[in-house]
Amino acid sequence: MTATTNTTEPANPPAAGKSRYTILDQPKLGIKGVLGKWETLLALLFLLAFVTNGMLLPHFLDPYNLADGTFNFSEKALIALPMALLIICREIDISVAGILALSSVAMGLAMNAGFPPASLLFVALATGVACGTLNGVLVTRFGLPAIVVTIGTVSLFRGLASVVLGDKAFTGYPQVMTDWGQGYFFDFIPREFVILLVFAALFAFVLHATRWGRRIYAIGNNPVAARFSGIEVDRYRMVLFMLTGAMAGLAAFLLTGRIGSTRPNIAMGWELEVITMVILGGVSIAGGAGTIGGVMLAVLTLGTVTYGLSMANIPGIYMTIVIGLLLLVTIALPRLLRGKKVAK
């Protein structure tokens, strides 16, 4: 959360040279503050989903099952991390699934051109960065709204992917991709999940503990004021778009390795699932607020719910209803509970 609450506290003995009031950077830690936090609600929701699944589904709590369940969301969550930064910054990237598809196609082309297996990761990352750069240039250089630009580029990227792919599919990816896409560390922990945790820690550190992170919040709260206080707003935006592209490229590497092929419908509709994860994680669509912890909790909650549903043999499309309702209820409930009257 942003540090908007200025708590004043009476200074005990007014020491010389010290201000009478201390303006705290963050609100004080109190029971009420903790309970009212979005992350707390999410954590409760996560526990609820977890316990319900554990009670209703006999094999849910099997550790091997739980570990394998993480495959469902790891790649999407990897894209959700930079997407959270973008949305905090008041931008959005609808084109991530298109970038992913194009990166996957680029890897297929590179593989058929005889590139060594280890270089495919860099092919995917480079494609992702190139796509992100195009988004970033259009948004920053020409001052266009990100949502329109990326609705355009998602058609473009996915279209280019389908032009190359036609109605065929690339298969026969090298072993190294299979290893990272569906492999385990110590025969137990999925590698994708470990990668996700590492990146989550990295993003959380950058967003919450560095100057760059504070500046992202500042830009999201008020881009004009941020610009006038000397923040290179456009450079931050540009880097975030490139970063999102790179993470989509990484997700393409892992996803392609996991399913072992590039098909025209790869990652179809993922952009909306990723954005749902971010919004559910408490990131404000108007920018300026949100935490990586919240996003990760939303990822785990959604992962638990969908994995439970799939274990109960409920068709996948019911999950879209659950995800949609979850999103609607979580944003509407606080508004209804608070009983905030809107001027009609």
Partner: protein
């Protein structure tokens, strides 16, 4: 009007250009077919225009269309004796209700439109599956009259075109000559000012999304009847095509500006591209990529137009497209 003229001219140039490569494209039958093909997109783009003018966006149109269309198809398939107007009304009413749900959440609860419609989009799409059990409703299950209606000709033109024509007229009246429509522009230009001058914002938004849903409902029936099949994935991803048509038509996603002519021409432009590709023997796989490129060019042109409108003392990079308040751009 300049932007609309440019767009109209480029449509004509595109049609003539394709006609030179393949004369069959500019025959009457082919152009009539093109017109019929564009109608659904035209109607949806007009409804979306009203929504975008208020600074909103309705991502749930395609899912709403699929759900209403599936409901209409099931209703017709299970009750062959039911008169067609009843089925169309049912689809329209369902669409309206689904739209009003969006409108209530966005208007009265003051929630961000993009998030709400993202959520309802998933829910409505899932409900299509729940309703149909995942099964297809194919042409032989639907009554003759149900399928025949959209392509039946009246005065030499298909019913689809007539309906679209009526929708265009209605949208034109609504946007330019009714208090309701003018209020929408006010809301999109400066929400807080609109509130201060006493525009009932919540109610206006409720009905804007209601209209969007109503149009999606009617189009749901038309879509299912036109293509004589209903399945869960109907019109999947079509919401982006609809928004793209609006963007090409020069409708500013930041709200407050947009014309009926723009939305219609934007939809026609996309329809021409879609219909021209097979004629000039370009693989249909190019369609999506070309659409994307066209959108980007269109927004670039729009942005250039807007730059000429005002002069600022400092070359600010102002973007207020997602801020709920602070109307900055009009200050120049």
């Amino acid at each position: 009007m300049k932007r609309e003229m440019l767009l109209a001219a480029s449509i004509v140039v595109l049609i003539i250009g394709v006609g030179m490569r393949a004369p069959v494209f500019i025959t009457g039958a082919s152009l009539a077919n093109l017109l019929t093909d564009s109608t659904l997109l035209v109607m949806l783009a007009l409804a979306q225009m009203l929504v975008i003018v208020t600074r909103g966006v309705d991502l749930s149109v395609a899912s709403n269309l699929a759900l209403s269309g599936m409901a209409a198809a099931l209703l017709a398939a299970n009750n062959p004796g039911l008169p067609l107007p009843v089925i169309v009304l049912a689809a329209a009413a369902l669409g309206l209700v689904l739209g009003l749900v969006n409108g209530y959440l966005i208007g009265y609860l003051d929630l961000p439109a993009i998030v709400v419609t993202l959520g309802t989009m998933s829910v409505y799409r899932g409900l299509v599956f729940v309703l149909s059990g995942g099964a297809w409703v194919s042409s032989h299950q639907m009554p003759e009259a149900f399928i025949a209606f959209p392509l039946t000709k009246f005065l030499g033109v298909t019913n689809l075109v007539w309906i679209a024509f009526i929708v265009v007229l209605a949208a034109w009246y609504l946007a330019s000559h009714s208090r309701f429509g003018r209020d929408l522009y006010a809301v999109g230009n400066a929400p807080s000012c609109a509130r201060y001058v006493g525009i009932p914002m919540a109610q206006r938004l409720l009905w804007t999304y209601g209209i969007s849903g109503l149009v999606a409902g009617v189009c749901g029936y038309l879509w299912v009847a036109r293509y004589a099949v209903a399945y869960t994935e109907i019109a999947y991803g079509f919401e982006f095509t609809v928004i793209a048509a609006c963007v090409i038509g020069g409708i500013n996603i930041a709200g407050g500006t947009g014309s009926v002519a723009g939305a219609v021409l934007g939809a026609l432009f996309l329809a021409v591209i879609g219909n021209a590709l097979p004629v000039v023997k370009v693989s249909p796989f190019w369609q999506s990529a070309l659409t994307g490129a066209v959108i980007l060019v269109a927004v670039l042109i729009n942005a250039r137009d807007r730059k000429k409108e005002g002069r600022q003392i400092l070359p600010l990079h102002l973007d207020n497209h997602s801020s709920p308040t602070a109307p900055v751009r009009s200050a120049a």
